[in-house]
Symmetry: C2
Subunit: 207 residues, 2 copies
Amino acid sequence: MSDPKFNEEEINRLHREKMERRQAARRKVLATKTEERGLLIVHTGSGKGKTTAAFGMVLRCIGHGMRVGIVQFVKGAWGTGERTILAQFPDLVTCRAMGEGFTWDTKDRARDIAAARAAWELAKEMIADPTYRLVLLDELNIVLRYDYLPVGEVVETLTAKPRDLHVVVTGRNAPAALIEAADLVTEMTLVKHPFRAGVKAQPGIEF
Amino acid sequence: MSDPKFNEEEINRLHREKMERRQAARRKVLATKTEERGLLIVHTGSGKGKTTAAFGMVLRCIGHGMRVGIVQFVKGAWGTGERTILAQFPDLVTCRAMGEGFTWDTKDRARDIAAARAAWELAKEMIADPTYRLVLLDELNIVLRYDYLPVGEVVETLTAKPRDLHVVVTGRNAPAALIEAADLVTEMTLVKHPFRAGVKAQPGIEF
């Protein structure tokens, strides 16, 4: 019969060797990553976390002292929790809510299109302003989905953004042309949602 | 030939009617959502945004004046950006980094298991502490994946959490038993990643 202590040592030795191989492989990969530049990032999919992850990224940038511009294309997408935090950093973050409410609340297509256009003009100004290191275009995909802005014009501007600027675009149904142009695309997929079980939206979680 | 102005009005009328139907349907659904309770939330998948979305949720809770506890099961997963922001709210957030570094850096299985156990004991204390409204167990899934903690024990504790407490668990490869027990599960899927194109990790985006 084998000595259990020896087995434990053997397991640990094999584990150490495996981790050494993994570490070496990881170092080799990292050594090839040398470029630093601003990214065009898209958070899409029907799951949760698209805006929340963008908000986390905004805070992370602020933590590095980087200036951030935010344009909210849909009013009401951000709650008091987010706004209270952002208000603590007035020198580093500019947040403009340009939307006129979710489209099923306004019911006025012409007004929605005008609001989308006004928000986009502001977004273009922020993108061109070299003092910003990150610009978040929150729920822009929803506006594109409704054809309130021409996708071609938006993608052209985002592709021609300053080299060092990060741009994050959120919202479900990201258009194919935007996904094509982006550097980093994450799809948030809903696996399970308590809304279906009668639980309502709650502070801290949903807003 | 039809009057183009009439067509525009017609389009707007149809749009308004469609949005009215959608708004009515949405109100009907919302009326059935009456329960308010703490959720067990899981962010998993191989894409980005799992920890970043949890960090956004932490900030949102802080914005509502809710106390938050964080246990980091893997050291180094959070960068200076996050830590600088959290340090601004010492009364509302307790953050404990218990990990001993990524496993391919330590190579010592026994030490990793001891670190995971110590972090889990701390997590249990936070879960039992009624002053916390949200507890984030960051990268717990990685520890479970390596069998450094028994999944059964962890799921049992999380299922028996206080009713009003939100618990967020992050990390790729969430075990099936945890997904089964959770109220809300989001999978972050990688669609496109600049790392593959030679771009290195950057402040604000990766850490």
